[in-house]
Symmetry: C2
Subunit: 142 residues, 2 copies
Amino acid sequence: MTAADDARAIRSLIEARSDALRRKDVPALSRTGTRDITVYSLAPPLVSAGGLDGVRAWFATWDGPMGYELRDLKLTVGDRAAFSHALAHMTGRRTDGVETDLWFRLTLGFSKRGGGWKITHEHHSTPFAMDGSFRAATDLKP
Amino acid sequence: MTAADDARAIRSLIEARSDALRRKDVPALSRTGTRDITVYSLAPPLVSAGGLDGVRAWFATWDGPMGYELRDLKLTVGDRAAFSHALAHMTGRRTDGVETDLWFRLTLGFSKRGGGWKITHEHHSTPFAMDGSFRAATDLKP
C-alpha cells in the first residue's frame, strides 16, 4: 500500500463511520472500530469502551435519521498509525422533541491491523466556559 | 529509526511537554509542537492555533508550579504519524486562590518532520453532564 492508498482507505473508513451514524446502523458502525477501542465521549465517564449497548440506547433517543457532517478534516497518515481531526456537526430531532444542533471536536486514531485500517481511538468534545459556570460550550459554530 | 526508536523519541517528547508545563516554560513548550499545530483546548473557541501569548497569559494564572501527570498513556506509532491518549491530572493553586484539581482526557497527534517528531495536534477535554445542565464534568476521577 502506498501512502496515497492508505489515505484513501482511511477517508473511506471515516465516511463509512459518518454514514453508519446517519443511518443509526450499529453493525456498520461496529465494523469501523476495534474491540479494544478507547473512546473519550461527549458524555461521562472519562473513558468508555465503545460498547454497542450504549450506542443502541443512544441511537434510540433519535427520532428518525441523524445529521452528521465533518468540516475541516485533516488527516496525518503513516504506515501503521494515522490520526484525523475535524469539526463534527450533529443535527436532528430527539424522541423527547428537542432539536439537537451541536458542533463538537472529533479526533480519531487509526491502526493498521491485518492489512486493513480500523479506528482504535475516538475523542469527542466541546470546550467549556471559563467564567466559573463550567458550562459546556454547546452553542459554538466554526 | 526502528519502531522502538520512534516510540522512545515520542515518549521523550511527551515527557518534555509535561515537564515544560510543570515549569511553565514557554520556550520549552513551544519546541514540542509545530507552528501549524491545531489545538482543541479545554477553553473556547472550538479550535485554537496554540499561540504562545495565550499560553503565557494562562501560565500567569498559576501561583507557583503546576502539577501535571499522565495516567494510562497509550501510544500508537507509525513511520511518519503517531498518536497517544491518556488521562491528565492538573493540580495547583491559582493566583485568585482557587485550588485546581482536574482530570481530563488528552489526545496528542505527532508527525515526523525533518527526521524528528513534533506534536501537530492536541485535544484536551472533559465530558459534560447529559442531565440538561450541560455542566462540564470537572470532578471526575479515573
